[in-house]
Amino acid sequence: MTDLKALLAIAGKDFRSEARSRAATVATVFFSSVTLVILAFALGRDAELMRGAMPGALWVALAFSGVISAAQSWQGDLQEGALDQLLTLPFPRAALFLGKLLANWLSMTLLGALLLPVAVAFFGADVAAAAVPTLLVTIALGTLGFAVIATFYAALTANLQARESLLPVLMFPVVVPILLAAVRATEAAVGSGDIALARSWIELLAGFDLVYLVVTSAIFHVVVEE
């Protein structure tokens, strides 16, 4: 119970510091919107092509901005030895990881929910009202898997040189299965709206999330060992 409290306290701390600085929020919201605009320009004026590219564009924008926010999430802790202080407290390291993960996941999910209507509007996709819950579940589970790997690798690279360019290089090959399943689930839900197909991809996505969550939580204590 106290471990859970520690986890929530870590997440709450990250949310409060973000609410005060708003640095990551501003960066990710604008960066992901700009990514969508660039992708829309790059794909040209073919309306059919644009409509088909919407799920991919949405996830590319989410993935790129997710890397930025994950990299920033450990930077505050590294200043003034704050992380060393945190590590002296009597709770499992996994609680620290899961707390950071919770904060990263929630902010990415909110960003995804915000970006979804923007992407739908930019790319002219049709979304049936019945498909909206499926899309939101896809966003929640896709960003969960992404945030697990992003938070983990961001901790791993936090005190290395060139971490900004290193983080995406290291983590993108690992999140490929998450992104593939999320893109396919989104694709199935928009347009014709094959909810059953989307559900089977969502189930796969949930399985991937679980595997990564278990593996990373189990070995996280090694990452912060000093």
Partner: protein, 244 residues
């Protein structure tokens, strides 16, 4: 301090090297000369012997690297880290060869250099992940931390491989149906061809073993040299303190 007798090149290493070269020659001879041409693919089947055996060993090597990494995390023995690096380097080499072989093989059979086939995609991702391990290793100076971080990454890499395979397999696949079904569906390959393939797998495994043995030997000497240098530097610091 200088070369102890144990530093001399052991005889078994030369035997292993000779065996690996002999295995390679036998595999190449049977694959290129003895094997009959395939019903569907004709002479192109000869690429398969080299390609499939190298691919299997690349995944075996990644598994060995990750397991050695786990042992390093568990026991902290430097030998485990040395083994892990040796296996990861071999995995990178065999993975790159798998990609080259796969592209060579798919150009005449599938009429394209690159297919987004599950196995080729998986190998490409694995190579990218292994490159990441070496990039990170290069950035960390402390040997203990370097070993830990690379072990952690290798464990995540190992966990991601089946997921990458599943996702890529279901995303879209162009690969000809698996001839050897590992789930127990039986072997549909001609027995002679299967024997030649297995001979080539053994040859690739011998080469892997030989490279590992050489690399572990180098790694251990590297570690010893580093320790000796650190000890010398410590001694020098002590002297400075004494002079003051």
């Amino acid at each position: 301090m200088t070369h102890a007798p144990s530093e001399r090149r052991p005889a078994w290493l030369n035997v292993l090297a000779a065996l690996a070269v002999l295995g390679l020659a036998a595999g190449a001879w049977t694959g290129l000369v003895t094997s009959p041409p395939d019903v569907n693919q004709g002479e192109l089947i000869r690429i398969m012997y080299a390609h499939v055996s190298v691919a299997w060993i690349s995944f075996l090597a990644t598994g060995v690297a990750a397991i050695a990494g786990m042992i390093f995390l568990w026991r902290g023995a430097r030998l485990a880290d040395v083994v892990s690096v040796a296996a990861a380097e071999a995995a990178l080499l065999f993975g790159a060869l798998t990609i080259i072989g796969g592209m060579t093989y798919s150009r005449p059979t599938l009429n394209t250099f690159w297919t987004w086939d599950a196995k080729l995609t998986l190998t490409a991702l694995m190579v990218a992940l292994l490159v990441g391990v070496f990039v990170v290793r290069g950035l960390i100076d402390d040997p203990q931390r370097r070993g830990r971080v690379s072990a952690v990454i290798l464990i995540v890499v190992l966990a991601s491989l089946p997921l990458n395979y599943l996702a890529a397999e279901w995303f879209r696949t162009l690969h000809p149906a698996k001839a050897i079904d590992l789930t127990g569906g039986g072997v549909t390959m001609d027995p002679i061809m299967l024997q030649i393939l297995l001979l080539n797998v053994v040859a690739a495994a011998l080469i892997f073993g030989w490279l590992m043995a050489e690399r572990i030997r180098i790694g251990l000497r590297e570690a010893r040299a580093l320790e000796a240098r650190e000890a010398r530097e410590r001694d020098r610091e002590d002297e400075v303190v004494r002079v003051r």
